[in-house]
Amino acid sequence: MGKEGGVLNAILGSLYLSIGATVLSMLMSLPIVLYINLYLKPDSKFAATIRLAMDLMWGVPSIVYGAFGFTVMVLIGLKTSMLAGMITLAIMILPIIIRAMDEIVRTVPLGLIEASLSLGATRWETAFKVVVKQTMPGIVTAMLLGFGRAIGDAASVIFTAGYTDKIPYSIMKQVGTLPLSIFFQLGSPIPEVQNRAYAAAVILTIIILIVSILSRLYYRKFARNRIL
């Protein structure tokens, strides 16, 4: 049993989950980062609190996010599903993305922000048209950092996204992931299944490699307009 087949379910599942989680996380983190850097004053206590909280959240083990996500799911009646996994992963990588972007956005020279403001731009326009453009390479790097963390994480999806051998077909259904397919298949006594686990591990590594290479290749393009 199980001598046939591959890990397409896990590849697709992992990609969907991680891309979804990264997008969700970006939607939350970009406004937060721009807000604490452009709307709050540099010595704001609130901004300092957010940064501290993010540093703490960064250190929390991912199984805790999994358990937390699971608890919330039980409370609101959501079943183990791709959606639940995405949300949990998004929260897990939120501090990583926020802190990485925050460090970059803080390096934007004040003169650049003042140049935009003095043309009569609002802070909103300055944030999205100038600061985002200036920090594009950093934003992309932060995104990929989050993506890499999300795709490789097993503990936070074990309760929330579940596992299935089916190809993912609905956001409300359970979904297989590469880390979990390694975990489950490595424990099998059947050599073919074990080999599939190793294959999954290689694929996971290759996906991360491809993403890193792409980001290097595109770095120059993103950095083209940057003002030093």
């Binding site: 140049a115 003095s118 009569g120």
Partner: protein, 251 residues
């Protein structure tokens, strides 16, 4: 001589530090006014009051009036984006925006609602010519502004500032980072621009003030010591401290 900007009892505090002390000042229309004085005397702070960039700093308290025409810019109902649109700012070091040369100039008009592509093209060309940089960049309008030399960047920043149709041009030591040739370019530009605009230039180059200024304000340690026509302040200062500065005894 009609006063364009009229400052009355302006005080600025950075926390405990009293940075500008009771400034009273009149800045004439269509003239170049140079603010001179040693470093740390509050020149830049004063300039940042004009377009209320001072608001973005921590722990700042401002009182007094700064009238532009008949409007006190520190009134609560002043629309800040509208106010800033009236002023072009040139900073010490040019900060082009992280986009192409074309978009740098188009940025201002676009955020103020101009959408018509043809109109934007015309404006970009017009203001790049106005800042005497058109010939150098007309073939590479889509190149990133960061590739220009620093002197070109400063002229691009001038074009960008002019493109929002300001009344007043503020310069915060606008030539201090530039090479002599670029500085000369910018200075010549200023002399032409005073036909249409009111210019307020902060400088700590005495020679520059002599070349440019019609009207000079001397500041020292947060106080406005002397103001008057360039000739009077630079050649025949009344105040003791101005004399010492002009003679190079204090700096």
């Amino acid at each position: 001589m009609p006063a364009h900007i009229n400052i009355q009892n302006l005080n600025v505090y950075y926390g405990e530090r009293h940075a500008l002390k009771n400034i009273n000042l009149e800045i004439p229309d269509n003239k170049i006014t140079c603010i001179i004085g040693p470093s740390g005397c509050g020149k830049t702070t004063l300039l940042k009051c004009f377009n209320r960039l001072i608001d973005t700093y921590d722990n700042v308290k401002v009182d007094g009036k700064l009238m532009i025409g008949s409007e006190n810019i520190f009134d609560n109902n002043v629309e800040i984006t509208h106010l800033r649109k009236k002023m072009g700012l040139l900073s010490q070091r040019p900060f082009p925006l992280p986009m192409s040369i074309y978009e740098n100039v188009a940025y201002g008009p676009r955020i103020h609602g101009l959408k018509d592509k043809k109109k934007v093209d015309e404006l970009v060309e017009f203001y790049l010519k106005e800042a005497s940089i058109w010939d150098e960049v007309k073939d590479r309008l889509n190149a990133p502004a960061s590739r220009l030399s620093i002197g070109q960047q400063q002229r691009l920043c001038l074009a960008r500032g002019l493109a929002v149709e300001p009344e007043i041009i503020l310069g915060d030591e606008p030539t201090s980072a530039l090479d002599p040739v670029s500085s000369k370019n910018i200075e010549e530009k200023f002399l032409q621009l005073k036909e249409k605009y009111t210019l307020v230039i902060v400088t700590h180059s005495f020679a520059q003030a002599r070349r440019l200024a019609d009207y000079v304000v001397f500041m020292y340690l947060g106080e406005m010591v002397e103001q008057g026509s360039a000739n009077q302040v630079l050649e025949n200062p009344v105040q003791e401290r101005t004399k010492e500065y002009v003679l190079g005894k204090i700096s």
